[in-house]
C-alpha cells in the first residue's frame, strides 16, 4: 500500500515539476492554474503518505480536501482557457447531492464531479482539435474518475489497493501526456 502511495507521489511530483517549468517559461494564466492544480495533487499524495506512516485520520481528510481543490483548479483552468460554451453547464453537476457522511467523503464526492467535468472538457477539446496527447489526458482523468468511484465502494484492504493502483495508473497517463507533448511530439492526427 505504502509503495503504491509513494508511486502516486512520485508521479504527481513529476507532473507538478513539469507544469511548474512550463508556467515559469511563459506568462500565462492557463499554465499557472495547471501548475497549481498538479502541485496540489502532489501535496495530496504527500498527505496520504503521512496518513499511512502516522496513522493520522486528519492527514487523510486533508489529502482528500486538497485533491478536491486540485481538481477544482483544473476545472477552473478549463473555464478560463476555453471560451464559455454549453459544456460549462456540467459545472451544475456540482449541485447534485454528494454523500455528506464526513469531510473525507464530501471531498471525494466533489472531486468525483470535478474530475468528470475536466475529463469531459478534455474529450470535447480532443474532438475539436484532434490532438492525440489530449486523448491521453482524457483517458487519465477517466481512470482517476473510476478510482474515485471505486473508492466509494471499497470495503477491505484489497479494495483499497485496487483503488490506489487505478489512481496511480491515472496519474501515469496524465504524466505521459505532458512528457509526450513537452518533448516536442506534434500530437496531431
Amino acid at each position: 500500500m505504502l509503495a503504491l502511495v509513494v508511486l502516486e507521489f512520485a508521479l504527481t511530483a513529476a507532473l507538478a515539476a513539469l507544469s511548474a517549468r512550463a508556467a515559469l517559461g511563459l506568462e500565462s494564466r492557463t499554465l499557472r492554474l495547471l501548475a497549481a492544480s498538479f502541485g496540489l495533487l502532489a501535496l495530496s499524495s504527500a498527505l496520504k503518505i503521512a496518513w499511512l506512516i502516522l496513522s493520522s485520520e486528519i492527514a487523510l481528510a486533508l489529502s482528500s480536501a486538497v485533491m478536491a481543490v486540485s481538481f477544482f483548479v483544473l476545472a477552473i483552468s478549463h473555464v478560463y482557457s476555453v471560451s464559455p460554451r454549453a459544456s460549462a453547464s456540467y459545472m451544475l453537476l456540482l449541485m447534485l447531492p454528494t454523500p455528506v457522511l464526513a469531510a473525507y467523503t464530501l471531498a471525494k464526492g466533489v472531486s468525483l464531479y470535478l474530475v468528470l467535468y475536466a475529463a469531459v472538457e478534455t474529450t470535447i477539446f480532443y474532438t475539436e482539435n484532434r490532438y492525440r496527447a489530449s486523448l491521453l489526458t482524457a483517458a487519465g482523468l477517466y481512470v482517476l474518475f473510476a478510482s474515485l468511484v471505486l473508492g466509494f465502494t471499497s470495503l477491505g484492504i484489497a479494495d483499497l489497493l485496487i483503488v490506489e493502483a487505478v489512481q496511480a495508473a491515472g496519474y501515469a497517463l496524465l504524466l505521459a501526456s505532458g512528457v509526450y507533448s513537452y518533448r516536442g511530439a506534434e500530437g496531431g492526427g
Binding site: 513539469l18 507544469s19 512550463a22 517559461g25 511563459l26 506568462e27 500565462s28 494564466r29 492557463t30 499554465l31 495547471l34 483552468s77 478549463h78 482557457s81 476555453v82 471560451s83 460554451r85 475536466a118 472538457e121 478534455t122 474529450t123 470535447i124 477539446f125 480532443y126 482539435n129 490532438y131 496527447a133 489530449s134 491521453l136 489526458t137 482524457a138 496524465l174 501526456s177 505532458g178 509526450y180 507533448s181 513537452y182 516536442g184 511530439a185 506534434e186 500530437g187
Partner: protein, 95 residues
Amino acid sequence: MSVYRSRVRLYADVLRAVRDGAGDEGFARISAVMRKANTSYAKLSGILDELAKSSMLEIVESGDVKGYRLTEIGLKFLDEYERLERFAKAYGLRL
C-alpha cells in the same frame, strides 16, 4: 464563435504568420502577415513595431516593398511558445 486571444498568443500568432508567410524573397509582406494572423492593420502595425523593438523581428526593405523576417531571438521565442502551447493542449487547454 470568436475566441479570446491573450496578448502573448496574439504576439506568437504574428511571429508565426511572419515565419510561415515568408515568400521567395525570404521575408513576409504585411498583407500576408495580416491575413495569416487574422488581425486588423492598425493592431498589427503596433505589434510589428513592438516585436521589431524587442529584436524578435527585423524590417526588410527590397525596393519599394517592405517586409518582416524573424530574428534568431524571435525564432527561439516561437519555438518555446509552441512547445508550451503543445503542453497546454495536451491537457485540453489554450494559452
